[in-house]
Amino acid sequence: MSVKQDSFSVSITVGAYGSAFGAAAVAADFSVLQACLLSLLLFSGASQFAVVGVIAAGGTPINAIATSTLLGTRNGLYGLRLAPILKLRGLKRVVAAQITIDESTGVALAQNNESDMRKGFWYTGFGVYIFWNLFTLAGALGAQAIGNPSAWGLDAAVPAAFLGLLWPRLSDRKSWVLAGFAIVLALTLTPFVPAGIPIISCTLLAVIIGWRK
């Protein structure tokens, strides 16, 4: 497949997923405007779902910000990897930074030469940005129209979305072990500490398990 086709198919598939985000955000009592702003400004799927998930679970905004930011640190590392290839400066650097996400990085790094890598990055970044935002609006408006989120299963759509994001990362034994420990730790802490804390505490498990090779 050509770079363009690669970029387009990734953009439309991932973008469509934005409707799940829009719906989940509104189901968690965010306004349609707030849901759309998260997609326009934050623009990183897992982090956006984390903001919504932590608030929906009763966590504080600080907790939501911390969890979302920790999930977003990988975008910074993608930038480190891509910057020398993209040759960024000025406004171009600002735009590139905003669309540095899993998908634009993934398509770029899958190409064989630097020219195709640059094309893959920009096409996929803009493509996902456009579709993700359009579908967020559609999902948010849809959820607003239907009322009680539980009656439509929207309360299960949020964890299912997290599971969809987690699944491809469970690539080895270490990540399965970590996932298991994180679930146990989060649920064990839940009755005893303020909501949101059980989630962010699991960062510690990642540090412990990742420390040794």
Binding site: S47, V51, G53, T60, A64, G76, T100, D155, L163, S175
Partner: protein, 102 residues
Amino acid sequence: MSAFWVAVIGSSALAFAIKFIGASVPETYLSNPRILRINTLIPVALLSALIAVNTFANKTQLALDNRALGMAAAVVLLIAKAPFPVVVLGAAVTSALAYRYI
């Protein structure tokens, strides 16, 4: 300002800051293997915790309800290699049916 606005603006600002710093500093920083390893594991830990809490808790109380059945459906669909939107839709439909009939 409401909690929602603080969360929206704060998380957006920090998300962009991280992306921009990544695009601006020389590659030699932060490329030590331990940091890279921990960085790949952080999403695994946080996503797992988010799944657990959003499925089995209401605020600070543990709960077993319609959402758990929705998640069971999601796991089955993922094992069957269903595409992303189908997984979320399957979980929502199952959970909605459980909410209505159980």
